[in-house]
Amino acid sequence: MQPRYFAHYLLRAALSGGFTLYIVHLVKSGKLMYYIAPRMETIVKLSAVALALIAIYLVFAALWALQGTAPSCGCHHMPGKSPVKNTVAYSLLAAPLILGWFVPDAVMGSKVVDMKGIVLSKAPTSPAVSTPPGETVNPPSTAGDPQPVFTSDDPFAAQYSKFAERLFAQDPIVIKEDTYLEAISAIDLFMEQFQGKAIKISGFVYRQEDMSDTQFVVARLAMECCSADATPYGFLVEWPEAKTLPEDTWVKVYAAISSSMFGGMEIVTLQASRVESIEAPETPYVYPNYDVLDNLQP
């Protein structure tokens, strides 16, 4: 049992303890959700507890090492002697802590969307309405049409029928955070039926290179477990003053639902009548709703 293990045990205790403290810090400052989806929060908190226990144990182990006593069986998992390897190993282990502590917490925004690519339409097939190429915008049809029917041959779309009906009943349609993904999917899948409806939706401003001066996307980042799986979703918005909106600012868009050709596909397009600046919401990301679609209230 070598006394040099003392330094290793102590360093490891510091790293374990460091992770615990970092997780506690994130929870207390409310920033944990920047990194982890809410459904994962409990187990991450539990791992903080486990790491604290490990840290405490390692402190004892360090003291025992100093006394020259083996804690129980310290003959494995012990680091080798190479200072280079040890430095690299411990730097790697410390890296998330150092970066986590010293780089400010940031909400993922346009830069991440650029990398991941925004999803503007999930519909597997375009609806029957065909737009001649070259024409960019369909004028919204007049509201006051009788209640459209939400049926589809596509089983994926059919799952959203009931939910789409409930959404259609609202005037204006208000997109809520906890049903965000389901609502935009429903509108996207039943694009024709939703033509002309008034809608209120919030998100951050995102612009792609191939968008015109009157176009931007009102976007949200959807996360399922952690930022690696975060996927950007949104609707294309047509607004004459689009160019004045800085990227990543949060806005509320009041618009009428229509559609247009973009990137070779027909996608939902919002004809905005009003675009308001808003404060960034407490919960910047949206998450899939796991309730049964048929019972979901928009």
């Binding site: 970066l99 959807a222 477990c225 899939p288």
Partner: protein, 343 residues
Amino acid sequence: MIHVVRMAIFLMGIFLLSLLIVLLMNPHVIRSLPLMDDPELQSFKTMFVSLTLEALPFLLLGVLVSSLIQVFVPESWIRRIIPRHPLLGAIVASLLGIVFPVCECGMVPVARRLIQKGFPVYAAVVFLLAGPIVNPVVYSSTSMAFRATPSIAYSRMALAVLVSVIVGWMLLRFVRWDPMRPETRVRLRNHDRGHNHDHHRHSHRHNEASSKWMETLDHAAGEFFDMGKYFIFGAFLTSIIQTFVPRSVMLDIAQSDGAATILMMAFAYIISICSTSDAFVASSFASTFSPGALLAFLVFGPMLDVKSTWMLLSVFKARFVALLALLTAVCVWMGSRLFEMLM
């Protein structure tokens, strides 16, 4: 002369340590540097921290189970779980993941421990491949993400079992050399020797039962740091890729379905997402890629990706990992093309 140098290094160490402590107490000094506002640095940091945090619980669970197996489960039990017959053995191994649903990060320490306790290597490999997929958590998240096409969910399970059994069987038949890294074997020998040795020197401050718990904790702590550094390196690489390589570069539409399948497999390998949430990402591609390509993404990713390759390299020889990767890739590709024709 030596004394002076040692003194200098010692003082330098104290100075740096104090500097570190001061900085830790006053992070705003660093946080307000203009460099810290670089959006790419922030993206990278978000990705890196997020990957590490979400894997921590599974890594801890993995090393805990591995340590419990080490301390409490006798070797005779381990050797008896897997039936002698290789095919039967492989099938049983592929279903073991049902009792142990974690990310691949948690599986590697358990697999290593099982091998050290006498679990046949090929069965451990089958477990490593199928475990991250064939379990209730992943099944439910897949069927949730692909609500309207339940065939995706059970095809995923079926293909995972098929591929893992085939790969395991092939490795059993064709690998005649020791696939384990030398350190892993040496540790086992030292451990046995060490146990007998240390019993004389123990100051018996604990009775038998609690010293077993201490041993578990000791193992778990050590293994956590062993595996942790490999995992974090994998997470580091993944974060670099996710921050600097746009998805569009990886997803430029391939000409044929076969090529698209390869593309999705490469994509799955590079982005290294946990098997509990990759269905969510795959569903956002549902309109662009064929079901076969999606299936390949969903099966190949949890079996092999940047993070898990790195962790495998900590346990197995590089040659073995390469062989494993090749066999898995070929099987997944062929399997998903086959399933697509049947779906």
